[in-house]
């Protein structure tokens, strides 16, 4: 069977959904951050697939940008997490609800 674009898209979709579900079900802030990374990874696959479809490397540039942004986001996220952990000794996001109605 020929591997079509749709295959890649479905794969990316499944990965994306895995990340999405993970983000919703996991309480560990670190794992949630990882889930975001997984979702971004899925996006990257879509970009790469479309890049291939159009024969245009512009998508690859996008993916590279994604790497950098994901790294930056992770860096800041982890920094804040460390700060939070220092005060509260927890990375359980369910405990992070001093700000609520």
């Amino acid at each position: 069977m020929e591997i079509t674009l749709t295959h890649y898209l479905v794969l990316a979709g499944l990965v994306f959904l895995t990340g999405m579900v993970g983000f919703v079900v996991r309480r560990n802030a670190l794992v949630m951050l990882m889930c975001i990374e997984l979702m971004l990874c899925a996006v990257n696959i879509v970009f790469a697939a479309f890049s291939r479809l159009h024969g245009d490397a512009g998508g690859h540039v996008f993916v590279l940008m994604n790497f950098a942004v994901a790294a930056s986001e992770a860096a800041i996220g982890l920094a804040i997490l460390v700060e939070i952990y220092r005060r509260r000794r927890t990375v359980n996001v369910d405990d992070l609800k001093t700000l609520m109605e």
Partner: protein
């Protein structure tokens, strides 16, 4: 000076007096204040006489003096003037009002001499005369209404003059409000006239002007019954007829001269005057005329029965007034407007006299009004007694006193109208009148004095300022009726002739409309009736004298008759006040408070709709905020839900 200009001063001079007295009030010495007030009325009376004399000098048909001061209301084509007019009818009224008013002013000088509110009293009194003259001389119905309300106000102020007592204030309020109910009818009547007449008038024609009304009366014919009944409702308020008579007895709370002037001689007759004034309208509606006559007759007998049992000297007189006003209405109702006015005038004389006399008695008795503690005053108050007796005979209708001529003629006209029932009621009431008046005289002036020794020691005849008017009025009570000496007795019936132009349409109209089936107008019958009624009156007087002076036990048995039930009912005035209270006032108050205010206003509108909807939004907010639970995962979940719905929608829509 021209009559036109004089006319306005007849009205305005008392106003000036009132303003001066009202503004300066206690800064004026009592003497000065009293002088100003009396002078103002005196001038007004003088001017009335002058204009009256000028009227007599005119052709009978042209006896009208107009004085238009200016426009009061001008909206689009609607137009009402401020203006005065004097014709024979209003001339009579003007003379009676200013004349009797002047006497009562003089009397008041003595009566009120020691009162703190002396200046205020005279201000009110002058204001009253101003309002009454506006009513009488007003050129149009609106002016009449202005005066009509004005006298109501003054009545209110004067009834509640001694406002220290809540009861007095209540009586004043009651008078005003009951009058207002009548005025309600009056107003609607006015509107009905306007609605029917306005479309037919040229712009700028004063729709309510009497001249215009008379000229266009035929246009009003279709609505005449409604108009007249509504106006008559106004009249029942002002002239204390059933069902709105209830305020008048209470009105006796005011100073006695006020009772004499306002609640006997002048204001209460305004209703009669108004009907007479609009005779050309009333005759258009036989129904209305019948109602007027019936209400008048019933009121006459009804009030007379109540008067039989009252113990308060002024209350008796008050019910007597109601009764007499019923006569006047009866007269108007049978189309005898002239006679109604005639009785109005004579009644003014003798009823004012009765009230002033009773005032003199009350004055002597240290403000005691209960007849049960009076008695034997004949010797101590000779002038008062003499004049009072004159008036009693006059009101009873003893020949040749004033009351005889007017009352007899009313009864005759009632008979002549063919409605024997009306005549019978009137006749019966006449007897009762004589009876209760005699009872009053006996209880007050005859027998032993029943007052405490303290009071007894102070009994004295009143000063000349008080007895003077009494004497003058007594004279008038005797001779006042002579100007209407009827034809069948060989008189000239000057009064009838004088008013003839005014009532030409009206009395002709009655005949023309065939509202009244005439008995044969022969003088034999007239003679017979006159003699019978005099005998009937004398019988009543004697009976009264006999029962209360000689055989007090009979009076007692009267009281006990029917298990005392009849007496109690009469003493309590048929429980009409109580019935009104129970039927309208209390339920109305409770309804307003519990239903309208507490339930509808506070409960339904404010509570349920206003605060309720606010509360719903607030609760909604309180519930929705619970979703904001601070949990990132929950937020993310709602996010995913949103995305899912979004994506699904898009995939299906495209």
């Amino acid at each position: 000076m021209q009559s036109e200009i004089l006319l306005r001063w007849i009205v305005l001079v008392p106003l000036l007096g009132a303003v001066v007295n009202g503004l300066l009030n206690r800064r004026l010495a009592k003497r000065v204040s009293g002088f100003i007030a009396c002078a103002a009325i005196g001038v007004s009376f003088g001017l009335s006489v002058v204009v009256f004399l000028r009227l007599t000098g005119m052709d009978a048909e042209a006896r009208v003096v107009n004085d238009i001061l200016g426009t009061w209301l001008q909206i689009g084509g609607f137009h009402v003037d401020i203006g005065f007019a004097m014709d024979p009818l209003s001339a009579v009224m003007a003379l009676v009002v200013t004349g009797v008013g002047f006497l009562i002013h003089i009397y008041s000088l003595g009566y009120m001499a020691h009162d703190d509110g002396f200046q205020r009293y005279f201000a009110y009194l002058n204001l009253f005369v101003f309002a009454m003259m506006t009513l009488v001389l007003g050129e149009n119905l609106v002016m009449l209404f202005v005066g009509w309300e004005g006298v109501g106000l003054c009545s209110y102020l004067l009834i509640g003059f001694w406002f220290n007592d809540q009861a007095n204030a209540s009586a004043g309020k009651k008078a005003f409000i009951v009058n207002r109910i009548g005025d309600f009818g009056f107003l609607i009547g006015l509107f009905l006239i306007g609605a029917n007449l306005l479309p037919h008038l040229a712009p700028g024609e004063g729709v309510f002007s009497f001249a215009i009304l008379q000229h266009h009366a035929h246009l009003l014919a279709p609505a005449a019954t409604g108009i007249c009944l509504l106006l008559f409702l106004g009249a029942t308020g002002k002239s204390a007829q059933i069902p709105l008579y209830i305020w008048l007895p209470d009105a006796m709370a005011g100073p006695t001269p006020v009772s004499a002037l306002i609640h006997a001689a002048t204001m209460v007759t305004a209703g009669v005057y108004m009907i007479a004034r609009l005779n050309f309208l009333f005759v258009l509606s036989p129904t209305a005329m019948a109602v007027v006559a019936a209400v008048g007759a019933v009121t006459a007998i009804f009030a007379a029965t109540i008067a039989l049992t009252q113990n308060d000297i002024k209350k008796v007189l008050a019910y007597s007034t109601v009764s007499q006003l019923g006569y006047m209405m009866l007269a108007c109702g049978v189309g005898a407007f002239t006679v109604g006015i005639f009785h109005l005038m004579t009644h003014a004389f003798f009823k004012a006299l009765l009230f002033l006399g009773s005032g003199s008695v009350i004055h002597a008795m240290s403000n005691e009004q209960d007849m049960r503690v009076m008695g034997g005053l004949r010797s101590k108050l000779p002038v008062t007694y003499a004049t009072f007796m004159t008036a009693t005979l006059a009101i009873a209708g003893v020949f040749p006193l004033a009351g005889f001529f007017s009352k007899d003629e009313i009864l005759w006209k009632a008979w002549e109208s063919g409605n024997t029932v009306l005549w019978a009621i009137g006749f019966l009431a006449a007897g009762l009148t004589a009876f209760y008046m005699m009872r009053l005289v006996v209880l007050t002036f005859f027998g032993e004095n029943r007052a405490s020794s303290e009071v007894r020691s102070h009994i004295h005849e009143s000063p000349a300022t008080m007895t003077g008017p009494l004497v003058i009025l007594a004279v008038l009570s005797v001779v006042g009726g002579w100007i209407g000496w009827p034809h069948f007795m060989g008189g000239g019936a000057w009064f009838e002739n004088w008013l003839a132009p005014v009532f030409a349409v009206g009395e002709h109209g009655v005949a023309a409309h065939g509202a009244v089936a005439h008995h044969a107008a022969d003088s034999t019958m007239e003679w017979t009736l006159a003699v019978v009624s005099v005998l009937w009156a004398v019988l009543g007087l004697i009976l009264g004298w006999f029962v209360y002076y000689r055989r007090a036990a009979i009076a007692d048995s009267f009281r006990k008759a029917g298990g005392g039930f009849v007496y109690r009912v009469l003493l309590n005035k048929y429980y009409v006040d109580e019935a009104y209270d129970a039927a309208f006032i209390r339920p109305g108050y409770r309804f307003s408070r519990q239903v309208l205010w507490k339930s509808v206003d506070a409960g339904l509108i404010d509570g349920l709709l206003v605060n309720g909807s606010a509360l719903v939004v607030y609760l909604l907010g309180s519930v929705l905020r619970l979703f904001q639970n601070g949990m990132i995962r929950f937020y993310a979940w709602t996010f995913t839900i949103g995305v899912a719905v979004f994506v699904l929608y898009l995939s299906f829509s495209s």
